[in-house]
Symmetry: C2
């Protein structure tokens, strides 16, 4: 259940109540693709860095270790020892970005595993069954995720099929939640808005899925190559048609700037691999801008990466030590960098929530949007 606490302009402060606890929004979800965070972080580390929601990938877990295995081990929460909310994506995005030899039909998608080439079929029902086995807090609807740019005819047909798939997802999730051996009978389902970069298709699609009364509404198929301005204009177009009393989730986004601009336009949920991926290459976010820790100027620097940051890395280690770990190819480099970048993102969202609480979001946006994006 979503409770809208406060608005500051179009920016929203909310609480999303789940069977695994309350999520304070706006929120950034931390990506643990295969039930582990890249860089060697476990569920205890996630708590340390202030993570509210962990996100795992249906496609990856279906392939390895298999959702039946996760179910046999008690579901994702028990599997990874995490007691807060988990969101699972539907597998759709990975089927369209990772899998090979795809055939898209009305019933679903036939594809080959990117790991061992095995032929697999996944449709709306299968995606729900897998996510029910994983027993996440929030499941995502199975959608077709088209690439941008995309022909309008194709985008229209695809977004219409995604609505038909959504209806099947909803029915299947209701059936699964009622089964006796279901681990999480309160599993929620979010719809996904599609329609490529065409505002009229996006609006028509949002109107149709809003009627179906899901637990939340995602905007999918953005941040896949189009300019940020196009993404912002799509959010502006569909936002008025998204139910006010349901959370809005912008999938796979993004930079600190993207997040601030999307919150400004009424978005509540975010996820992105960028902070952890950038961390693994030594690109680190700080309150003054973006640092490349591989830079020679940090060799003898005994100050922390970000003196204002309270993460484990910044409290305990110098830039000189971090740079050394990267140069020496130590796994500890990845771990300390990922801890920092994810802490930074969770803290950014906490600061955003605080700014909205105090009617200072405009000020926050003005002060931070350029500063956080500059390379220093």
């Amino acid at each position: 259940m979503f409770k809208l606490i406060k608005k500051d302009g179009n920016a929203r402060r909310g609480e999303f109540h789940t069977v695994h606890g309350v999520i304070q929004t706006p929120v950034f979800m931390n990506v643990g693709t295969a039930a582990a965070i890249k860089g060697g972080l476990d569920a205890f580390d996630l708590k340390e860095i202030g993570c509210q929601v962990e996100l795992s990938n249906t496609y990856h877990l279906h392939l390895r270790p298999g959702d039946e295995v996760v179910k046999a081990l008690g579901g994702l929460h028990k599997f990874m020892n995490w007691d807060r909310p988990i969101l699972t994506d539907s597998g759709g995005f990975q089927v369209f970005s990772l899998a090979k030899l795809r055939k898209i039909k009305e019933e679903g998608v036939y594809f080959s595993s990117h790991i061992d080439g095995r032929r697999i079929f996944m449709g709306p029902e299968e995606s729900m069954q897998i996510q029910s086995n994983l027993a996440s807090t929030i499941a995502m609807a199975f959608d077709e995720c088209v690439e941008n740019p995309c022909e309008k005819d194709y985008a229209k047909a695809s977004s219409e099929m995604t609505v038909r798939w959504l209806k099947r997802c909803k029915a299947e999730m209701q059936r699964l939640n009622a089964l006796e051996d279901t681990i999480n009978p309160h599993q929620m389902l979010f719809a996904i808005n599609q329609g490529s970069t065409y505002p009229d298709l996006r609006i028509e699609n949002m109107k149709q899925i809003a009627e179906l009364d899901l637990d939340g509404y995602a905007i999918g198929g953005l941040a896949v190559g189009e300019p940020s301005e196009v993404m912002y204009s799509i959010i502006e177009a569909v936002e008025p048609y998204a139910p006010v009393n349901k959370p809005r989730y912008l999938m796979g986004v993004g930079t600190p700037e993207n997040i601030i601009e999307a919150v400004y336009r009424g978005v509540d949920f975010f996820d992105c691999v960028m902070p952890s991926r950038n961390a693994r290459h030594g690109t680190l976010f700080t309150s003054n801008g973006i640092v490349n820790i591989n830079n020679a100027k940090y060799e003898r620097d005994d100050t922390p990466l970000d003196p204002k940051c309270s993460c484990h890395t910044c409290r305990n280690f110098s830039k000189g030590y971090l740079r050394h770990l990267f140069k020496a190819n130590e796994i500890l480099a990845l771990r300390l960098a990922v801890i920092h970048n994810l802490y930074f993102y969770n803290k950014l969202l906490a600061d955003i929530r605080n700014a909205i609480d105090n009617n200072k979001f405009d000020e926050f946006r003005r002060e931070n949007i350029e500063k956080l994006s500059q390379r220093i």
Copy 2:
């Protein structure tokens, strides 16, 4: 200062007092080659797993980031944020195992870096200067580490040169400790016994280095290919000639069985990369024997790796989850496995100390020596 508290047969319980705190012996030192533990563990993790002494490598740190850089950043303790004892090896072993195009002369060794081919000279004085810059608690003497088997003539000439080198090390360390800008003016120096597998050479060498009154005595050049029985017989040969009131350190050893057998013969200090290296391949030590976590039989196993173990990994995760992390190539697999294996080693030594304290070391040896080595 070493205080021999108690003996149980030839097994010794001692306390080694250093400027960075007291080391309870027998002790296993945890290897952090480049000032980080392989598998992504930092100094805080080392405390969690009960590590008393961290061991770093002079050769690696001289090459990268450079000991001058570590000195500029306040020495190894500050660099890696570890306030307990650190032992640095002399660089000798790596010069003879990793470096290329070696030329050994009376003055020292000319070699090429294994990283960038750069020509480097290291002799006794240089090794002490590097270790003084690193500011470890205990420095090791620079020695020639011959391969086994080795011609007796060569072994004799080499071990005699190592004694001459030891004298130069001692004089240089005294000079460095007296300098004004030395970070650790109380840096200690351990001698290294050499002589290949020839008991008479080993004994003659030990007699000569014992006279030089160092802070501790290592047995080097073992566990490099010879059978365990040969190693045990060498320990038995030299032990009567090692000063009673100084710690004895068996370098680079070994399996739980090796350690128990060496403690039984009067050894106090150990180090080995095996527990962390094995961990990274999924070979895990438990109180019932050795587990290969990649085994398919653990796929749906929801029990901990070792129910008797109190490490982070065993307290919180199942064998099924660990196996999944290895199969999915997650860095978290390495981290959780290394945490467990190093905890196991530190706990093994704590159990050994406890057994000696209670005059039960013989019983402990009998009960554990085969059990810990069996594959289950």
